[in-house]
């Protein structure tokens, strides 16, 4: 009965133009609660633009985006985050000023739970420290979950890119999200790392967190995605199960290529 599950995210007729170039044209699709949906397509197809529209970093020119029943078009990114939507970035965005560590980065994910105020920071240290200790425990737990507890005190920039992406994932999980937008999280990972990352995504899904995954690694996508939507030149080219997408001649021509070596399901 999974097909009857409600859509947690619903994108309707979204269009965005940058100086005359159609980055997104009338894109519509749903993401079902508890699913991993992959968003694939060639470079420049509009995938990151779509993620930016969903989490409120930019507003689309027209169309609607419903997240948990709220129309989030026009909401600022911090309000969308408050509804339980978190994300990682294709170009890694770590907080690095003032020697911020990996742990500091993950702890920022607790911002919405801690809601720090000046008054409490100065006059209510006991309460602040207690909440901070709890957040610290949780952050270390998440770093352990992504396999980076030993890097907690490292500068984020000193880690390999693949690991920085895992720190971003831990930081997003720290917000206790209902849904995650992951923008090419596996780029920079080698084959073994991709395998353990696939397991990681599975266990995140098991926790009931919905994922919209932008990814070029087709092996990962085919292994994990419940369904796939394909963008090409800002338009939706196809949508369906991994098997259907693999067999779709239009998708093969536009993106997958004719060799299809990566595009098969693991037994």
């Amino acid at each position: 009965m999974t097909d009857k599950r409600d859509a947690i995210l619903s994108v309707k007729n979204v269009t965005k133009t940058f100086e005359g170039i159609r980055a997104l044209e009338d894109v519509s699709f749903d993401v079902k609660s508890g699913h991993i949906k992959a968003l694939i397509g060639p470079n420049g197809a509009g995938k990151t633009t779509l993620l930016n529209a969903i989490n409120g970093i930019m507003s689309p020119d027209s169309g609607h985006i419903h997240f948990l029943g709220h129309d989030v078009v026009g909401h600022s990114a911090d309000r969308v985050a408050g509804l339980g939507l978190s994300r990682t970035f294709q170009l890694i965005r770590m907080f690095t000023i003032n020697n911020a560590t990996v742990l500091d980065n993950v702890l920022l994910g607790a911002h919405m739970q801690l809601k720090p105020t000046l008054f409490e920071s100065i006059f209510s240290r006991g309460k602040v420290n207690k909440a901070e200790r709890k957040a610290c425990d949780r952050a270390m737990e998440l770093l352990r979950f992504v396999g980076l507890e030993k890097a907690a005190d490292a500068a984020p920039g000193s880690l390999p890119f693949g690991n920085q992406r895992l720190v971003e994932l831990a930081r997003s999980l720290m917000t206790n999200p209902k849904m995650l937008l992951l923008d090419e999280p596996a780029s920079g990972l080698n084959d073994t790392e991709v395998e353990s990352f696939t397991e990681l995504l599975r266990s995140i899904r098991e926790k009931g967190i919905t994922i919209l995954l932008v990814e070029h690694n087709m092996k990962l996508v085919m292994n994990i995605a419940d369904d796939i939507v394909v963008l090409d030149f800002g338009k939706k080219l196809a949508e369906g199960t991994p098997q259907a997408i693999c067999a779709n001649p239009q998708v093969i021509e536009a993106y997958l290529g004719t060799t299809q070596t990566e595009c098969r399901l693991e037994p």
């Binding site: 600022s76 990114a77 911090d78 985050a81 000023i97 920022l108 911002h111 602040v128 901070e132």
Partner: protein, 318 residues
């Protein structure tokens, strides 16, 4: 060595506590010098919260220094308020001005923010000169009483010195509490990457405004302390040059460190005393030292201190 590592802060505290009675030997001039240092520490620490931690440039910090100073000066000299009451009113007034200004102005970035803060500094100075009936205009505001708390008059320089430094220590303690808390982490996130901070639920405009208000209230306090020490106010003390001086102290001491501004303020205020002998070349020499520090020591004086400190303990630990 271990004791030193843990209790190092006793040394500067002891210096501050015994300075007027030992080194300064009760001399009003030398005590007065450190009163100025203390006032500038308050200003610079506030600016460090705004610039060093939150990454919001301000080239007009003297504007809030001015509002505090004139609020205290006018209310005590003309309307007979108690200095403490006037100081609190000044802080509230400055806080309201900073809050009203913060939202629109802090939406600007970099050069535009610098220009807007600079312009506000100029506006405040122009108002001080223009509102002659209230502020005394260019000829200044006279007959400002010494500071007094609950009838105890602090006209003695040594007494006032202790009062000012008690406030300095409170300001530093508050600032450390802010930056070493989740609030400080949020400020650093805004400084690093505003878009990413927003994606994690940070209402960046709100947090920038809050820290701007705190920095301005600190500056207002410094203004009130300055007023009662001088007994006389003139608009020259609050121009853009003063704002730039505060900026220089911040960068010289080490931005984003809280302790750096203390060193910066000491250095900038004491340098003229050291170069006093070669009077004619004073400005040249202090300018030269400044350039050397800024070019060769990007982390400022505090960076040098921590480097020496770490070397010292690296050896001790072996």
């Amino acid at each position: 060595m271990k004791l030193l590592k843990q209790f190092w802060w006793i040394l500067p505290l002891a210096f501050i506590a015994f300075y007027p009675v030992t080194l300064a030997g009760g001399s009003p001039y030398w005590s007065g010098l450190l009163i100025f240092v203390g006032i500038y520490v308050i200003l610079t620490v506030g600016l460090d919260l705004l610039m060093g931690y939150t990454g919001q440039i301000s080239v007009g910090h003297a504007a809030y220094f001015a509002i505090g100073a004139y609020a205290s000066g006018i209310l005590t000299a003309k309307y007979g308020f108690s200095p403490l009451g006037a100081m609190v009113i000044g802080m509230v007034l400055t806080g309201i001005v900073a809050w009203a200004l913060g939202r629109p102005v802090l939406a600007l970035k970099e050069y535009y923010l610098a220009m807007a803060t600079l312009a506000f500094n100029e506006i405040v100075v122009t108002l001080i000169i223009g509102l002659e009936w209230l502020t005394g205009g260019a000829s200044g505001l006279r007959d400002i009483p010494s500071f007094s708390i609950f009838g105890l008059v602090l006209s003695n320089h040594v007494h006032y010195y202790y009062f000012v430094w008690a406030i300095v220590i409170i300001v530093i303690a508050c600032s450390l509490a802010v930056v070493r808390s989740p609030f400080g982490r949020t400020l650093v996130a805004i400084h690093s990457d505003e878009v990413a901070a927003r994606a994690f639920g940070v209402d960046t405009a709100k947090y920038k405004t809050r820290i701007f208000v705190l920095a301005s209230v600190f500056a207002s306090m410094a203004g009130s302390l300055f007023t009662h020490y001088m007994g006389f106010l003139a608009p020259d003390d609050f121009g853009v040059l003063t704002s730039i001086n505060i900026l220089v102290m911040l960068f010289l001491g080490g931005i984003g460190t809280i302790f750096g501004p203390i060193l910066g303020a000491f250095f900038m205020k004491l340098l003229p005393e050291l170069t006093y002998q070669i009077h004619d070349y004073e400005l040249l020499l202090s300018g030269l030292i400044l350039i050397i520090v800024l070019v060769f020591m990007p982390k400022g004086l505090f960076g040098i201190f921590t480097a020496i400190w770490e070397k010292m303990f690296a050896k001790a630990d072996k």
